[in-house]
C-alpha cells in the first residue's frame, strides 16, 4: 500500500522517461509491489511541477521523488510536502530546501572534466574549441561547466587551445544548440577542431550543423547520458564521447530510500555521505559512479552495463551497417 510520486522535469532529454522513470518503476515493483508509483512530467515549467506535486499530495502520495527544473523554485515543493509530513527526495538535480531528505547523483564536476579532457586529448596545440553549455537554470549544468573549465581554463590562458565560441542552451533545447553551432561555424569560418558539448542533445545538434559543412566525424564531440541516438552517432564516428552514469543504480537507490521513508525506517545505511545544499542544509547523499564512454568500445561498455539499452536498439538505421553491429 501507499504511493510514491516521481516528478520529471522535461521531455527534451529522453533519459527521464525512458531510463530513470522506467528503472524506478521497475525497482519499486520489485521491492514494494503494493506501492503505487505515479510519474509526472512538467515539460520544463516550474509552475506545472508545483501543481503536479500538489496533485500528488492530494492523491495521498507518501514520498515525492523530484527531479527539479531548477534548484530554487522546487523548494516550495519540498516545503509544502513537509507541511503534510511527506518527505522529498532530490534526484539528479539538487533542491535547495531544508526539507530535502536525500539526494542521488554522480560527480558531475568530474563528468564535465572528463568531457573536456576527451576533447583536449583529441586536439592539438592552437586548436579552436566550441563550448555548448547546458541550461542556465539547471544546477547540474553549472557544475558540469565548472568541471570543463577546470581542464580548459589553463589551456585557454596559455593559448594551447582557443575558445572560439561558447553559449548556454536554455532548457537543454537542441534547437537552440543547433543555431549556436551554426553561428559558431560561420563566425569561425569552420575553423573548429573540437566541440565540448555538455550533453547528448547538444552534441546531436552540433553534429547536424557540422554535417552540413562536411566536418562531422572529423571533430571530437563530447556528450552526456549516452542516449540511443548518441550511441548511434558514436558508432558512426560523429560523436566521440559520452559521459555515462548507471541510471538504474540511481533509480534503485532512490526507490530503496523512498520505501524506507514510506515506512518510517532508518536509511542511514543507504546514504553514507552528506552534502550541503544551497540553503545550507545537510542532505544525505548517495554518489553513483560515472564512466566516460569513448568510441565503439564505450558503446559496448554502456550496452553491457545499462539494462535499459540493448544492442538491437542501438543497431538501427544507418548504424546497423557499422562494424560494431555486424
Amino acid at each position: 500500500e501507499g504511493m510514491v510520486a516521481f516528478l520529471l522535469p522535461e521531455n527534451v532529454n529522453p533519459r527521464w522517461e525512458q531510463q530513470d522513470a522506467a528503472a524506478f518503476v521497475a525497482k519499486m515493483k520489485e521491492i514494494a509491489p503494493d506501492t503505487k508509483v505515479e510519474v509526472f512530467n512538467a515539460g520544463n515549467d516550474t509552475s506545472v511541477q508545483q501543481r503536479q506535486a500538489e496533485q500528488a499530495l492530494t492523491q495521498g502520495a507518501d514520498v515525492l521523488v523530484v527531479i527539479p527544473i531548477d534548484g530554487e523554485s522546487s523548494a516550495i515543493i519540498a516545503d509544502t510536502a513537509a507541511e503534510e509530513g511527506v518527505p522529498t527526495i532530490a534526484y539528479d538535480r539538487m533542491i535547495n530546501s531544508e526539507n530535502t531528505k536525500f539526494w542521488v547523483q554522480a560527480d558531475m564536476y568530474a563528468t564535465g572534466a572528463a568531457q573536456a579532457q576527451h576533447v583536449v586529448d583529441n586536439t592539438a596545440k592552437g586548436d579552436t574549441l566550441v563550448m555548448l553549455k547546458g541550461s542556465p537554470t539547471d544546477p547540474n549544468a553549472a557544475v558540469i561547466a565548472e568541471g570543463q573549465m577546470s581542464v580548459l581554463e589553463p589551456l585557454f590562458a596559455s593559448g594551447e587551445r582557443v575558445l572560439g565560441y561558447e553559449n548556454w542552451t536554455q532548457g537543454w533545447d537542441p534547437a537552440i544548440a543547433r543555431r549556436s553551432m551554426d553561428q559558431a561555424l560561420t563566425q569561425l569560418n569552420n575553423n573548429v577542431q573540437g566541440v565540448v558539448s555538455s550533453n547528448d542533445g547538444n552534441a546531436g545538434a552540433a553534429i547536424a550543423a557540422m554535417e552540413e559543412q562536411g566536418m562531422a566525424g572529423k571533430v571530437p564531440v563530447s556528450g552526456l547520458d549516452c542516449t540511443v541516438q548518441a550511441q548511434q552517432l558514436m558508432l558512426l564516428g560523429k560523436q566521440t564521447q559520452c559521459g555515462w552514469r548507471p541510471l538504474h543504480e540511481m533509480a534503485a537507490a532512490a526507490a530503496e530510500v523512498a520505501v524506507r521513508l514510506m515506512n518510517d525506517q532508518d536509511y542511514s545505511d543507504l546514504a553514507t555521505r552528506t552534502v550541503t545544499n544551497g540553503v545550507g542544509a545537510e542532505v544525505n547523499f548517495v554518489p553513483v559512479d560515472s564512466y566516460s564512454a569513448v568510441g565503439p568500445e564505450g558503446v559496448a561498455y554502456v550496452i553491457e552495463h545499462d539494462p535499459s539499452i540493448t544492442k538491437d536498439m542501438v543497431c538501427q538505421g544507418e548504424a546497423a551497417s557499422t562494424d560494431f553491429c555486424k
Partner: protein, 407 residues
Amino acid sequence: MQHELRLSLADRMRIMRQTRFGAFVPVLLALAAIWGYFGLAAPLLEYWSDPDADSLRLIFLSPRNIYNLFMQSAVIATLAVGITIVLLLGDIDLSAAATAGVCAALLGVLVLAGVPGWLACLMVMAVGVVMGAAQGLLIAYVGIPSFVVTLAGLLGYQGLMQKILPTGNLNVDDPFIRAIARILIPDMLGLAMAVGLVVLVMLAALRRQAQRRQRGLELDSSLALWGQVGFFAVITFAAVLTLNSYRSVPLMIVLLVAITALLGWITTSTPFGRSIFAVGGNTESARRVGMKVNRIRVAAFGIVGLMAAIGGIFGASRYGSVSYTAFAGGSLLLESIGAAVIGGTSLFGGRGSVWNAILGALVIGSLGNGLDLSGASSADKLMFSGAILLLAVAIDAVSRPADASSR
C-alpha cells in the same frame, strides 16, 4: 427550414442568452462538462473497470482539490482578466506573461535587497503599468499592430527577466509577500462576507427595478432578475462553503475577485469602459464621436501591465520563488490568452467580459489539475487535455441553434 423544429427550446435559449447572465452560459457549460468528467465520469469509469478498486474516490470534487484548483488557476486568471481588456479593444497582448515575470523577478530582487514587501509590491505594480503602457504608446501612436509590438515586448521582457535573474530563479521568502497566498480568511468572516455580498446584490437589483418602474422604463422579467440573483448567491455560497470545508477562503482568491469586480464595473459601467467596447466594436465610429482612441488604447495596455504585475506578485507568493519558466518562458502566455478566449471574449474586439476570463482560467486550470490526478503518461495527458477542451467548448456550440455565420 420550413418546419416547426427546435422552436421553443432554441428560443428560450436565445432569450436567456440575451440577459447579462447569458454570456456565462457557454463557458459555464464547458466548465460543468469538465468537472463532470473529472469529478464523476472518470472516477466511475475507473471504479467499474478496475476490480481491485475498493472504493469510489471522488478526489477531483473534494474541497481540498477545489482549493488547489483555485490557487493553481489564480495566476492565469489574473492575467486573463487583464488580457480581456485589450481583447475587447480588438488588440492582443503576447507579453503579459513576460511582464508578470519581470515584475515577479523585480519583486524578488527588491525584497532581497531589504525593501519592505508592501513597498516592493507597489513598486512593481507601477513598473507593470509602465511596461504595459509603453507598448500601448507604440501601438496607439506609432501604429504598429499590437501582435508585433507585444511579440517584441515578449522577447524584450524575457531578456529583461533573465537579466534581473541571471540564474533564472530566486527564492522569495518575504513574509508579507508569502502571506498573500498563505493568509486564510477565518471561516466565519468568509461566510459573513458572502452573506453581505448576496444581500447587497439583492438590494441593488430591487432598487434598480423600483427606479425603472418609477421612470417608466422597460422592466427586466422578474424570472431573469431573480434567476441572476439566485445564481450569484449559489455560486458565492458554494465557493465559500467548499473552501471553508478544506481550509478557508484564501486571501489571494478574495483579492482576485475584488480586483475583477472592480475591473468588471469599470468596463461595463463607466464612460471609460463604454469607450473600450465602442473602440472594439467600431474604432472609426468611436473616433468620430470624439473618443480619444489612442489614450484609451494606452490605458488598456496599462491595465494589462498592472494585472500582469499583480499576477507576478500572486505567482511569487504562491510559488515561494520566481523562476523564468513559470512566467516568461512557459505556457502561461498561451494559457492566459486561451482563458480569455474560452471565456467567450472575441479576438475581434467589442465582445466579452472579465468575469468570463476567470471561468476560462478555471477551464484551463481544471484540465491540468484533473489530468494530474489520473495516472496517465504525459503524452496521454496532453492528448486528453486537447480532446476534453474541445468537447467542452463544443457542447455549447452544438447546443446553440445554428444561424447566420459567426466567428
